[in-house]
């Protein structure tokens, strides 16, 4: 399936796309105008409104070059590229874009507040609005206490934070983040990921470029994977990442007897073809451990000259208690009405209670024999779940999806907030099964 996805996308340009690339190429030339490197080679994709889009690939795969072409920092050698329907060099379009480069290129002689004030003026924000947004953004990125220090004294992580804040000063419709978590501590990384998810929920379009797959996995709705300047895979995040031949179950601590019963159920239902393969105690992730330690230190008011824990998402972005926020809420309400087929991105489907899961699974027994086998036969559910759990425990990665590629022009899948820990068992598959079951039993 992965091979099937490893094709160059030839998606026709959608007029409503925020960003549309068609056969985009960039060739760097030497002094004598001879081709030196083909950084981007015939790339075509679209970023649709209100989606979090991932641009993945190893170093040198053409991610940053593609972004720079979107921003007018580079000119394409060939192909077509439009942002909000206009050329990237269009000055008016840039009012709607926020950009965080791969490194935070900041004026070393300005402090954080002056930096944000400068960029706010470039967007012609009036003084009142600038002051309000700067306060909220500084609070959000945890730099309120360090706001009057020159940014040249900042650590790299603090510079990334102020870089992120400047990218949000104009409340952008399109936020382009190039390796946003580089240099950030786990808290900052978590906050950035949360922010991206939050912005996605609020209807912003986000382009996230990274080679840190864990960052992208948690946030994006759709993604393309680049290698050698060409698209190697493209699709919705769930479609690319979901392993249909495994099932994971997480439960409270179980004794040996219960596990034996479960194993027996599995063997009975699969006629001995599947069994409980691996049982282990969930291991706390390093990220969770780190976050716990820092939160504890902060609760004990231990002093730090660096960035503090960031506050809530800036009000003007989160749309609360301000006229601006009210307007944004209105827009968001309008926006959430549009994709009728999808559940509201602002309200993720609640995970079913663990206690309720097994009875539901058992009830699947009562399903009619004519139930369609795809995507996975009910008999294979627990086997698949266990295999997936085992695969995650061993490699930490999900096996490739057996699902066919969706039509990229179809409506985007709404973003699904992820569980806090990557080691926790994904219950969404069980939810899907329950939904499938419900559908099958419907008259």
């Amino acid at each position: 399936m992965a091979e099937a996805r490893a094709i160059q996308s030839q998606t026709p340009t959608n007029a409503g796309a925020v960003v549309a690339c068609q056969n985009l190429s960039k060739v760097f030339k030497d002094f004598w105008l001879r081709d030196r490197a083909r950084a981007v080679d015939g790339v075509s994709f679209e970023i649709r409104p209100r989606e979090v889009f991932g641009l993945l690939g190893p170093n040198g795969s053409g991610k940053s070059t593609t972004i720079k072409m979107m921003l007018g920092l580079l000119r394409p050698t060939a192909g077509r590229l439009v942002v909000f329907g206009k050329a990237p060099s269009d000055v008016g379009t840039k009012k709607r874009i926020g950009y965080l480069p791969e490194e935070s290129y900041l004026y070393p002689f300005l402090n954080a507040r002056e930096t944000l004030d400068y960029y706010g003026k470039l967007f012609e924000l009036d003084r009142r609005m600038r002051t309000q947004r700067i306060d909220e953004l500084l609070d959000m990125v945890g730099l309120t206490a360090a706001q009057f220090r020159p940014v040249k004294e900042y650590s790299k992580g603090m510079q990334r934070r102020i870089g992120l804040a400047q990218a949000l000063i104009n409340d952008p419709d399109l936020l382009i983040l190039d390796e946003p978590t580089t240099g950030l501590d786990p808290i900052g990384t978590r906050q950035v990921k949360d922010l991206i998810i939050e912005l996605g929920r609020r209807g912003k379009t986000v382009l996230l470029s990274s080679h840190l797959l864990a960052d992208v996995e948690d946030c994006v709705d759709r993604m393309v994977i680049l290698y050698g300047g060409r698209i190697r895979a493209e699709g919705a995040s769930d479609e690319l990442l979901t392993a249909g031949d495994r099932t994971s179950i997480e439960a409270d601590a179980l004794d040996e007897g219960t596990l034996a019963e479960i194993d027996e159920v599995i063997r009975r239902r699969t006629r001995g073809e599947a069994s409980l393969r691996r049982v282990s105690k969930p291991r706390q992730s390093l990220e969770s451990l780190f976050l716990d330690i820092v939160e504890k230190a902060q609760s004990e008011r231990i002093q730090t000259s660096g960035a503090t824990a960031g506050g809530a998402t800036a009000a003007f972005l989160a749309a609360s208690n301000t006229d601006e926020g009210e307007a944004l809420i209105d827009r968001l309400v309008e926006a959430t009405r549009e994709p009728e087929a999808a559940p509201s991105p602002a309200e993720p489907a609640p995970a079913p209670e663990p206690e309720a899961v097994l009875p539901e699974i058992v009830e699947i027994d009562a399903a009619p024999a004519t139930a369609p086998p795809a995507p996975a036969p009910p008999e294979d559910v627990l086997t698949a779940a266990v295999e997936k759990m085992e695969a995650q425990a061993v490699t930490g990665e999900a096996p490739p999806s057996p699902e066919p590629a969706p039509d990229p022009t179809s409506d985007p899948t709404p973003p699904q907030p992820t569980p806090e820990s990557g080691d926790e068992v994904d219950l969404s598959m069980i939810d899907a099964l329950v939904e499938d079951d419900d559908a099958e039993r419907a008259p």
């Binding site: 720079k68 060099s89 840039k94 480069p101 002689f109 400068y118 960029y119 012609e124």
Partner: protein, 651 residues
Amino acid sequence: MNWRRVIARLDRWQHARGFKIAASALVLLIAVIGFSVYYLAATGPNADGAAPAQAAQVDEAEGSQDSQRVGVDEQARRTVEAVLRAQRSPTEIAYGIGIATAISIVVIWLGLGLTYLALLLLAAGVAYPLSLFGATAVYARILVGVVVLTASFTALMQGLRLALSAPNPIFAVARNVLAEAVRMKISLVFIVLLVFGLAALPGLLNEDTPLRYRVQSFLQYAAGGSFWMIALLTLFFGVASLTSEQRDKIIWQTITKPVAPWQYLFGKWLGVTLLAAVLLLVTSSGTFLFVEYLRSQPARGERVAYVSANPNVPFTPDRLILETQVLSARKSVEPSPPFERDDPDFLRAAYQKIEDERRTDPNFAATRAAEAAVIEDLYTSSLAAFRGVSPSPEFAREFVFEGLRSARNRDRVLLLRYQLDTGANNPDEVYNVTFQINGTEPFVQRSGLGHTHTVELLPSRIDENGRITLRVFNGALFRTNDGRVGWQPNPSTFTLPQGELTISYAAGSYQANYFRGVLVLWLKLAFLAMLAIWASTFLSFPVACMVAVGAFLTAESAGFLATALDRFGTNDFQGNFELWRALIFYVGSPVAWIFQIYAELKPITKVVDGQLISPGAVARGMSVLAVWSVALFLLGVLIFRRREMALYSGH
């Protein structure tokens, strides 16, 4: 209560609106009381009666237009009186008090009122004890100078920051440039050097030299030094500001915002130009005020400074020259050429000369261009020959100065400036040169060679047509005791070089002339800022610096370059064409032409020499520099738009 808390409270206080209103009212009240006291003292019944009485006499004399009755000395005294009286007039004093009041109120509303008051009191508290001792007095002056200049600079910068605080991309970029200027080393070094240099300069003046020389030296070094320092700062900082942003990729963050290339470049230029303007304003104001201070000091031969028209106070030549020649705005007139280029007689003679040459060399001046060049050479050498005066009374030269009608109407002392050049110019030799004006009684001047000499002339020497005819004899023409005319020739022929024989007259005030000079300097700096910005749009820091500084030095020396090229030509001394000479000539000529107007604007030289910088010359210079600046700007924008910013490394 600790000091930090007190200072914090005072700082909050000086930022409070109530304090600002009260302090402004207080300053206004002091200004009004001060002016009223001065006005009453100057015009009241108990005021010194000598000055008004003398002034009335002078007015009467001016009104009579009968200049023949007044001697040169009296005429000069009247000129000085008029200058000094204008300085002490209530209007001038009101202007001065008004400016000081305005500055004080601006400082108060910038929230710096108490800070500056404390700073000045502190400086005065330290400087006063230092000034009591001869060995440390110089340090007191430097301290006061540094404090005043720094305070002025910071207040102006603060004011500019406020003025540029509107949410506009151009203003934002310009304001950022100003912040960069005071926080980055490259510009801060220049600024500190400038402030300390200017503050220390008065200490280098020799108090034994005549006052006019001290004033001229200070003007020359302060204005010239400041301009060159600010010019280099403008070039280096302008280049650094743009190239460092490209090298460090900081520019990515700006140009991915809604900022057009022209806005970004214009903002950069505006910031650099305003910085130059602030520095120029501070240094030129400091220079002006110190010159006024020097002016109030005793001239050579004066026990106290000559400030009033009291006949009992001796009137010295040093004071006269200072007030009429140095702190003046004189318009100079050169003698009209004896004939023009298109004079039929001259052309006939020139073609005859060419024909004569062709008899021996048929290829001589074969083309029309070569023919024109020969005629131009003949004309130039004819003029040079005309300025040569042989040591014989029959070979006296007659020079006609025209266009002096306004000088006659102004009734001011004229100044004849001349220089004798014998080639060797032996410093031990002194020549007698005789002048005869409009056929009147000749007079003899003993003159050293190679130096500029001056002679005061009465405006009544100008005839009805605004003309003076001057005959120059190479020797002493004198009348013997028995009434006969005697003649004593000099040993050799001398010439009066081009530009070294002029008659000048005061055509404006020194203050207005100084202001125009500063304006011209700022125009030059604005052009240099654009030059630096343009070079930075496509070059890295070192190369852009080289190009910008090279262009600056070329522009400053364009006058010399043009003169040198005139004599350089494309042929060697034997008349043979040489490729490398032609290359130099054809590259250098357009460069000299491009910067011709720039080079002709010599504001510092003119201010130091007391020469008029006419409004017309300022307007002409402004037009040319504006055209060049706009052309560079458009070129820079074009380059910038075509650049791929992510490709540039600058390393």
